[in-house]
């Protein structure tokens, strides 16, 4: 039995919009917790995809981050998932920037951009839940040596 993700995607979308629309002072006032929240929201977004595929989301970490472990898990056997590889890494990067120096003059901007990156991840995963093939443009995606391909090529040749 796989537990349902902690938050519906619509709620996450609303929360991200609220963060993006927040004033600079509000963002700066709770910068470290907001940075962690963005990362946690990213994890829940990926949990949605894995749960929908009947896979229990991992609790492991890769390079110190569960988000990256969840991405790796999602990409196993589905290379189109790599279309969000850098989006996940950017989310981690923005979280780290804020956590490293919460008093930095760019903190509000960094949090807002982090929220926009998380929003992209949400749109991508939301899109994949509708049409699983989204992301296949990068392609790659389709396993290059799948069985039916061999058969088709043999027929054509």
């Amino acid at each position: 039995m796989i537990d349902a993700p902690a938050k519906p995607l619509d709620d996450i979308a609303a929360r991200l919009e609220a963060i993006i629309a927040s004033s600079d002072s509000a963002l700066v006032a709770s910068a470290p917790s907001l940075a962690d929240e963005l990362l946690a929201l990213g994890e829940v977004i990926l949990e949605h995809w894995l749960s929908a595929r009947g896979v229990a989301p991992t609790t492991r970490v890769v390079e110190g981050f569960r988000l990256l472990a969840l991405h790796r898990q999602g990409a196993r056997g589905d290379a189109s998932f790599n279309a969000c590889r850098e989006t996940c890494r950017e989310l981690v990067y923005h979280r780290n920037l804020v956590r490293l120096d919460p008093a930095h003059v760019d903190t509000a901007r960094r949090l807002r951009l982090g929220a926009m990156v998380a929003k992209h991840l949400l749109l991508f995963i939301g899109g994949k839940l509708e049409v699983a093939e989204i992301g296949e443009f990068c392609c790659s995606a389709r396993p290059l040596r799948q069985h039916e391909t061999n058969t088709q090529s043999a027929e054509i040749a």
Binding site: R89, L113, M116, H120, L123, G127, F137, C139, S140
Partner: protein
């Protein structure tokens, strides 16, 4: 200037003869202005694009291999493809032919049937238009030729998804200083900075635009593109620079659609990097095909003293 890429075979691909015509025009004009030669492949064919690849990747490998064999027959060891899709597919064919015996077998068979030489991996190097300018001219060479600096222009560089993925088909990338990065590509940033532009830190430079489903799931594509556009604006960009006709068209079309369907207007301009570099070298906006873009940026460019 590196002699290696001074004269290369040119594979424009289908998109550059259609919706990406401005990219074709500006690539040719840029090469001319820089004193570089490109020779179009004779009787080239589709690279296999997404359509063939999704149905039969080995047939796509053959189609791309045929283009590589034409380049070899014409006496070239380098072929330049400005379209990310074509570039990616030629690279994938190269990888498959080097690593997958069954891909080699299918390509051999189809080549014999079509009556031409089989392409053997390692004979022709595929490069992108970014590699071409970066390696043949370089930042210093470009700086020396700038007549109309892009100074004051804030640019978000969008590389799209196919320029760096999957990593294993780009063995020359991620080799440290001087090489391109698959996680944070920078060649376009480097070239535009050399021409005077101010690159903004853009966290979605390789993020998905939903391109493959622009017709089957338009709303998702529009939302993804709208987020690319609004994020570029939040980063302070006046312009999104592109290096792929599919990305470029997708950004332009969904910018319009976002306003029509979701009532979200964005004003960031979308221009090919070849158009921006061409104008920096003193070419007119018309010469680099700005009038052929779907979105209107002429007034903006005039206000910036370009074109």
């Amino acid at each position: 200037m590196s002699g290696k890429y001074q004269k290369v075979a040119y594979y424009p691909g289908c998109a550059l003869e259609g919706t990406g015509h401005a990219y074709n025009r500006s690539t040719k004009e840029l090469g001319k202005a820089l004193g570089l030669d490109i020779v179009e492949l004779k009787n080239w064919n589709c690279c296999g694009a997404m359509e063939v690849k999704n149905v039969d990747p080995k047939l796509q490998t053959y189609l791309s291999a045929r283009n590589l064999s034409i380049a070899e027959k014409m006496g070239f060891d380098t072929v330049m493809a400005p379209c990310n899709g074509c570039y990616h597919n030629l690279k994938k064919a190269e990888y498959d032919l080097a690593n997958d015996p069954s891909s080699r077998e299918v390509t051999d068979r189809l080549s014999r049937k079509a009556g031409h030489e089989t392409y053997e991996a390692g004979k022709v190097e595929t490069i992108h238009a970014l590699d071409w300018i970066k390696q043949a001219i370089g930042e210093e060479g470009l700086k020396a030729r700038v007549k109309n600096s892009l100074n004051g222009l804030k640019v978000a560089n969008y590389y799209g998804c196919m320029y760096t993925r999957p990593r294993h088909i780009f063995p020359e990338k991620d080799k440290g200083p001087g090489s391109e990065s698959t996680s944070k590509p920078h060649f376009m940033d480097d070239l535009l900075a050399a021409a005077g532009a101010e690159n903004v830190e853009y966290p979605l430079k390789t993020a998905c635009c939903g391109g493959a489903h622009t017709l089957s799931d338009s709303d998702t594509s529009t939302k993804l593109v709208l987020n690319l556009l609004t994020t570029a604006e939040a980063c302070g960009a006046d312009v999104i620079a592109t290096e792929c006709p599919t990305c470029h068209t997708g950004l332009e079309m969904h910018q319009v659609r976002a306003e029509k369907v979701f009532g979200r207007k964005t004003s960031v301009k979308i221009l090919y990097f070849t158009q921006l570099l061409g104008m920096a070298l003193g070419l007119s906006a018309r010469k680099v095909g700005v009038h052929e873009n779907f979105s209107e940026s002429s007034a903006f460019l005039r206000a910036k003293g370009l074109g």
